[in-house]
């Protein structure tokens, strides 16, 4: 096939539904009424809602056309760093739509929801096993909610010991939401810098850890895609001063079934089922951010917890030290079914292999592109690799221009300008989803773009050229946002 995936095509314009249709058009015929008309209470009479009159074909074409403007992981490679945009197997969707699951009301008594409770109970045990932790709660609704749950658990632990602490250490290689989650729980985030190798030094942590500090929030692998290789020592420093270690598990896709989190000293870890465990995300949700803990924090997990006795599953509130309930009902159950389906499809060996391939793919991209794009940390990476635009500065080409031009080649742009510790960052996470041919195509596109930057920089500055809309004025949109109409 054509080397370049991106090409021109007929892209249909589509007006708003309110600008379509005409009076009297309808999607179906209402049966004739067989009861007599009777007058309506005047208080109930008024103008109806402003709905357009549309036929079925009007509506179907409308949404089908809008869907063709989309780009998703079902369309092509989506190497958005730190987001783990892996393929979402369709069998997951099928399982989640089984009528017994999809139709179950969240207020069913446990004896009528044994299958749902069993799935949640087993998913918790599988997540314990994948991470090495001792207990899991599926309640947190998404990643940042899992972070907050982790902070609340740490807070409850110290409170129970009569040892109130006010600070949390957060490295500059942690995920951007961590400081907010700590602050929301009343802790003051204490920022610390990573070293010249892009990871944390033990001495840096020793210098700030004290009896006022509740613990640390590390992201491991960190947000530069590097494994924190001093993590055991760092955990020891924190524990020696009575603190706890929270690990942001957003990057778990690199280490499933490979790193035992409990063994390296992590006390609480959150997972993103919508990243690592292949459930859809990117459209604003729903996510799912379970927290996994060791025995220190197990008594504080949210209630109700699912308990098993003689093959019967029940919901129990009988955990007096619990931090309480974190959301309505039991978390995002549909996402749990999909994650469970993924784990069952892959098996233990398959999950480990997925992590190994995600790391291999990222390292392959790193090795093949490092002579073209500047690589700030030239060492083996985990599941994502961070380049920047330093080599292109002479041509006045920035990371943003490269990202926009990639769209013309048929790829979703990677994450840009994050992590902040690398100026002009381009963070690429291919995941295990992509085959070698597609990765090679991506690498060649990146190489060709670097060549274009030298020969015809204007081509990059005015990109994208082939998309439905051209480059948007992001500055005016941010300075003068139009929030209605």
């Amino acid at each position: 096939m054509n080397k370049n995936l991106g090409t021109t095509g007929l892209i249909l314009n589509e007006p708003l539904l309110w600008e379509k249709g005409s009076k009297g058009r309808t999607g179906f015929s209402v049966p004739e009424s067989d009861v007599d008309a009777s007058p309506l209470d005047s208080e109930l009479v008024g103008d109806g809602p402003d709905f357009p009159d549309l036929s079925e074909v009007d509506v179907v074409r409308h949404y089908t056309r809008l869907s063709t403007w989309n780009f998703g992981v079902d369309t092509g490679m989506y190497p958005l760093g730190s987001c783990t945009m892996k393929y979402n197997p369709k069998t997951n969707e099928r399982q989640a739509r089984l009528p017994g699951f999809a139709g179950a009301h969240p207020l069913l008594p446990p004896q009528l929801a044994q299958g749902a409770l069993e799935l949640m109970y087993k998913l918790e045990r599988y997540l314990d096993e994948v991470t090495g932790m001792q207990a899991t709660s599926l309640q947190p609704a998404a990643g940042a909610h899992g972070e907050l749950a982790g902070m609340l658990l740490i807070y409850a632990y110290h409170k129970h010991r009569g040892d109130q602490r006010s600070k949390i250490i957060i490295p500059d290689t942690a995920h951007g939401t961590n400081p907010a989650s700590a602050a929301l729980c009343g802790y003051r985030p204490v920022p610390v810098k990573s070293n010249e190798n892009g990871v944390l030094s033990v001495e840096t942590i020793e210098a700030v850890m004290d009896a006022e500090t509740a613990g640390i929030m590390v992201t491991n692998p960190n947000t530069i895609g590097l494994f924190e290789d001093h993590i055991r020592e760092i955990c020891r420093v924190i524990h020696d001063k009575g603190g706890l270690v929270y690990c942001d598990g957003a990057n778990m896709n690199a280490i499933m079934g490979i790193v035992d989190m409990n063994e390296i000293g992590i006390d609480v870890l959150h997972l993103n089922l919508h990243k690592t465990f292949s459930t859809p995300h990117g459209g604003g949700g729903p996510g799912s951010g379970p927290v996994c803990v060791n025995d220190k924090l197990e008594p504080f997990l949210p209630v109700p917890r699912i308990v098993e006795k003689d093959g019967q599953y029940n919901l129990s509130e009988d955990f007096p030290r619990s931090i309480g309930k974190l959301d309505t009902f039991h978390g995002h159950f549909g996402v749990m079914i999909k994650a469970y389906s993924y784990i069952m499809s892959m098996g233990a060996a398959g999950l480990k292999k997925a992590s190994q391939l995600s790391v291999l793919n990222a390292n392959y991209i790193k090795e093949r592109l490092k002579s073209t794009y500047h690589l700030p940390h030239d060492r083996p990476c985990m599941h994502e690799v961070v380049f920047n635009d330093q080599n292109l500065q002479a041509y006045k080409i920035t990371t943003l221009d490269v990202a926009k031009r990639l769209m013309d080649y048929g790829f979703h742009p990677p994450t840009v300008y994050f992590p902040l510790v690398v100026p002009g960052a381009i963070m690429i996470e291919p995941t295990e989803t992509e085959c070698k041919q597609d990765i090679d195509r991506f690498i060649e596109a990146m190489q060709q773009i670097a060549q274009e930057a030298k020969e015809d920089p204007e081509l990059l500055k005015s990109a994208p050229h082939r998309s439905k809309v051209r480059r948007l004025d992001e500055t005016t949109a941010a300075r003068k946002p139009c929030l209605a109409n």
């Binding site: 500065q393 920035t398 840009v416 902040l420 992001e474 500055t475 941010a478 300075r479």
Partner: protein, 133 residues
């Protein structure tokens, strides 16, 4: 983005490592961010400044600056009390891009120790630091 030789680095201000500048005006000190900082950030879309009267020590965050790329904290290059803030930035954050040392100033500080400014970098020292980045 600008090459180092294209940067506007006036010699009547002092520079901090976090790329703020400080200019002496009578007993007060005026603070903003350097041409390098605004160029690195790109189009600035929002500037958050402290309350007048706030007492802040050197190195403490006094506000945030948000561009299309990122949100960054602003750090006090000297300790003191906020005597005035540039209210124009609320409506026109682009002033920081267009005139970083003029109408794009951020806060005016009544310094706790007027000599603290002397510890900051001169134009030459700041230029050397930028070359090392």
């Amino acid at each position: 983005m600008k090459e180092i030789h294209e940067l506007d680095l006036p010699d009547d201000v002092r520079y901090a490592e976090d790329h703020e500048w400080v200019r002496s005006e009578g007993s007060k000190l005026v603070v903003g961010i350097s041409d390098y900082a605004q160029d690195q950030l790109g189009d600035i879309v929002f500037v958050e400044l402290p309350e007048v009267g706030a007492k802040l020590s050197k190195g403490e965050a006094f506000g945030t600056v948000e561009s299309v790329k990122a949100v960054s904290e602003l750090y006090m290059p000297v300790g003191g009390t906020i005597a005035a803030i540039n209210g124009k930035l609320e409506e026109s954050p682009e002033l920081v891009n267009n005139q970083p040392y003029g109408q794009g100033w951020m806060v005016e500080v009544q310094p706790g120790d007027p000599k603290e400014i002397d510890a900051l970098m001169t134009q030459q020292a700041y230029l050397e630091m930028l070359k090392g980045l």
